[in-house]
Structures are given as structure tokens and as C-alpha cells.
Symmetry: C2
Subunit: 341 residues, 2 copies
Amino acid sequence: MKIALDAMGGDYAPMEIVAGAVSAARSLDCELVLVGDEEKIYSELYKFSDWKNLNISVHHASEVIEMGEHPAAAVRKKKDSSLVVATQLVKKGECDAVISAGSTGAAVSAALLILGRIKGIARPTIATPIPVGSNLTLLMDSGANVDSKPLHLVQSAMMGSLYSQYVFGVEKPRVGLLNIGEEATKGNEQVLNTYPLLESTTTVNFCGNAEGRDIVNGRFDVVVCDGFVGNVVLKFAEGLAKTLVKLMKQTMKNSGIMAKIGALLLAPTFRKFAKQIDYTEYGGAPLLGVDGCCIIAHGSSNAVAIKSAIGVACEYVKKDVNAHIRENILQEEMLSNDKDK
Amino acid sequence: MKIALDAMGGDYAPMEIVAGAVSAARSLDCELVLVGDEEKIYSELYKFSDWKNLNISVHHASEVIEMGEHPAAAVRKKKDSSLVVATQLVKKGECDAVISAGSTGAAVSAALLILGRIKGIARPTIATPIPVGSNLTLLMDSGANVDSKPLHLVQSAMMGSLYSQYVFGVEKPRVGLLNIGEEATKGNEQVLNTYPLLESTTTVNFCGNAEGRDIVNGRFDVVVCDGFVGNVVLKFAEGLAKTLVKLMKQTMKNSGIMAKIGALLLAPTFRKFAKQIDYTEYGGAPLLGVDGCCIIAHGSSNAVAIKSAIGVACEYVKKDVNAHIRENILQEEMLSNDKDK
């Protein structure tokens, strides 16, 4: 198995991308191709004395897509960017998967424009794993699409369910539709029209409506929503975490010596606690529905997150998630029903 | 000033509602009417030796609207329910405001059916204050409406801005439109069509798009969104808080004696920290746009939260928020523009 890494994408690229690749190459059974400015990549690689014994190679690419750029335009224009070149390696069959921690929009655009969609899938969606303690819920979609049609949400549910089953080993994933109440009669037009479709789908274990709280309480393995809502929720969670940490630090600063001793004594417990909600342990969100494997890593990914993303890519390819999606493509009749609406 | 309290609504009603009323009557300059089962209310009141010296009266109502009931149907059917009777007291001019910690849907329905809307306001919206440290952001709407039209969001922005200005004393509230990116070209159809309207509105200090993280980082005083999104975000935050507390307790349980001593030493700091994100200090979310004052308290409100909600109602009435809304009703031309679409 061969995985292409966009070595220039991410807040800590290429340093953490290279470090993650080295760490993965030491323990995982896969070949890694670091794509990007070779000079910069080699200067990072040389920090690891054993790198030449590892299954790592470098593929030069002269350009970088920056965070602020218009995704599709940048992908079209920067043909020699690390992201485009890495995605091309998958298209040409030289690699089995591509991973990027750069602009999510650009990674989605590159996948759509270069790899294309699996036949029958209307809109690929980003499946973000939300780990809280022993619960792991897959949030679909976290921002690839907005104004999704009911069919898109149903296909999203199907793909998320297969991913949860084959990659996370959940036997019969419980799928929920994100809504503002549990009753089937609640919600906006989008979810009201999606509910009966999900109910009648035999390929998905639909367990009814999920509410905001159900994203983190373990009631569902897969929660399906419009990318607008998923994106807002994820960014809200990130913002909340940052703001609370800042607030806690300020409060600590104004506390006495006893509190500071208390904090020291509690530090190992805090670390154990933090590990249970640490996304870097899950590291990558696949773009489900594209004809190839594309894993999107968080922009602030460190080496641990990159290594996890590589692990995710390995599982994705090994379990052949796309073959399962092809087998389960939701019926053409649904597509035509949708068109009639 | 006279405020009607739905004494039977809420997870801890009537106990905490009555206790909150007593506490408010001791310190705030207002008259309180407890509406509901008089026997139950009196038995709570008698727990407070000074209640007869306070500005509190009881108004009997024989029915209660339960959480599971269909809001509008329940309001229509249970004419002698504590919520309906309390709202009627405002309609008749006997009270200036109504507060309920019962079913949010029922409170909204009662307000719409009994009080009606302020002329020109298409859809009243719930303004939920989100306190994080020294930041206080008003999230509009948290679930009164779904599939809102651009005009509804613009009116929501205007009302939230006035509320922030007159009740929270923010001179020129910074208003943001909740979206999945900062750029004006991002988002779904709803926000793409709302953005230019907000930009051209002179009554609102529109500061551009807000992202999920901006609900808690203090960048905006008012964040406007569809009730579907707002509801999901609020319930997600609640679920996250509950799940994290549970997880922390489990982690603590499995920790050694040193960690437990640490926790004891840190307890006062934790309490200080928790107070900074404690919604009970803000206690009530007004339903802006109805012709009267209706404050919705959280279902799990305790006496502190109820007292805060009463404080909110007092400020609302004292500052005559509705008069300011009437003055600033967004132009009829916008209404007709919207109809043409």
C-alpha cells in the first residue's frame, strides 16, 4: 500500500507532516510518498537518523495552495501544487490514498476534480469522527456540501454507516438524522423530507432523529446532517474548547498557592481526561464518495494526528470501503424520484 | 411592574420557581404573580417565613401543559393551564411580562396565539445569551423558527441588536451572520441572500460573517442564525458539558489519592471557573418580536436562574424594548421585496 502525503498542507507543515510520516513508517505496513518542496522536506527528514531505512520517498512539487485561496480556482491554476500532485498520484494509480492537512475546501475540490465521484453518488461528504470517552460518533457532513437534498443525506447515511462498519468495526451502526426534536414531525423541510427516505432504506439501520446532544453522548454511531450545520457545530466545539482553556488558565492565574499545588496533583488525571477527547488519536476525516481515498486531516495536525490519519488511510484501503459503497449505491429509482421533485 | 410566573413549568416546578420568586421579591422592585395549582404553590410559599411581607400573589390555574404535548394544540386545548393563564394576564394588561421554564414550544405558541406579533415583525425569535467569561453573545434564534427567510434573519438581527443595546448596555452591538466561512461568498442560499440585506441595513451594525467559534469568543455581541442551527448548537453545548463532566468524574474515580487531594485544593478555582460559564446567572431568553414580554427560562432552571429571568423581565419592561423594536421595524419595502422573490 502506498500513500501520498501533501507535505506542505497544514499549520505545522512540513515539519509535523514529515514527523508523522516517519512515525507511521516505523510502525505501519505502508509506503509513504511525501509530496512538496523537496528541499524543505529533506531538511525535515534529515532530523531522523533512521529515515533512509524507512519506506518513505519524496516527490517534488513546486507550488503550495494557501489557506485563503479560492479552492476550485487554486486547484485548477496550481497544477504543480503539493495537493494537486499528491491527488494526481492516486488518480494515476501510483498511490492508493492521499492525505492533506491543508485547506479543506481545496482538498475537496482536488478530489472532486481529479478523482471524481463514485458512479451514482451525487455528493461526496466529509465524515468526521467525534471521540468522547469510549463513544465515537461519525458526523456526516462537516462542510463539503450545503443545501443538501434528501437523497444526498440518505447517501451520506449509507456511506457513513459502511465506514463505521468496516473501519471502526461497528456491527450494525446506529444512524441518526440531526434534528431539533426526536419526533418525526419536527424539523425543517430538508429533514422532514429525508426522514421517510431513511426509514424506507434497507441498507441503513436508521434509528430516528438525533438532537445536538446526541453527537457526543454515544446514542448514535453515525449522525447525518447538512454540511452547514455540521461545520458550525465542529467550529463551535473547537472555539468552545479554546475559550474554556483560556478562561481556566486565567482563573488559575488568579488563584492562590493551594490551587496551584492542586493543579499539579491533578495534572496526570487531566492528561488522562484530555486523551479521551483528543481528536489527534483519530486524526483524519475521509471524504466519502470520491473515486479514490482522500483523507482530510485537521489544519493544526501534529505528528500524532498525521500518523493517525495515515492509519485511517491504511484501514480505508485495506477494507476497500469504496467497493462496499459501490455495492450499496442507493437505487437509481431514488435518484429519479428525487429529480421529479 | 408586575410579572406573571408559570409556576408549574420546568423540571423543578413549582419548588424552584417559587423559591426564585421569593428571592427576587426580596431584592427587586417588582410584583410577582405565581400562576398554577394554588395548593402546591402555597405549600412551597409557606417554606419562607417572610413571604407574606413580599410582593407576591397567587393566581390559580387548574391545568399543566406537559413537555411531550404538541405545543399549539396544548395551548388551544388547556385554557386553564398555568402557561396560558399567565400569558393571558399579560394580554389583559394585568401583568407586564410572563416567564415560563416549561416547554419552549408551548411558551412560543402561547405568546404567538395570545399576545400576537409586533406589527411588521414576521417571525418572533428566541434570543439566548451565551456567557463565557467576560464575553456575552446573544444567539438568535435558538429554535423558534426553521427555514427562515432572509427578511426574518434581518429582523432577528435588528431585534437582537436592540436587546443587546438596551438590556445589556452594549453601545453599538457587533452583529454577525452565522456561516461556514468569513467570506461573503460562502454559505448556503439562506445566508448568501441575507448577507447583502444585512449590509444595506442602517439600523444594524453588521460586522460580517461569524463562524461557529465566534459564538463563544467574544468577537460578536449578536450572532444571527436559523433556529434549526441555533437549536442544534445549544443542545450540542449542553450535551457536551454533561458528557465531559461524566467523563471527568469517571477519570477522577480511577485516579489515586494525590489526584483526589488535588481536586479538593482546586475546588474553589473550579467553582470560580464554573460561575463564569453559568447560564443561571443570565437565566432567561426573551422571545423577541411578540407584542408583550415573554421570557423563556431553561427547563432545568433552579431558583437562581428564575430570579435572573425575573431580573431580565424587569429590564425588558423598564427599557421598553418593544417600543424600540416598533421604532426600528424594518421597512415595508423590504417586506415587499421579499415577497417578490
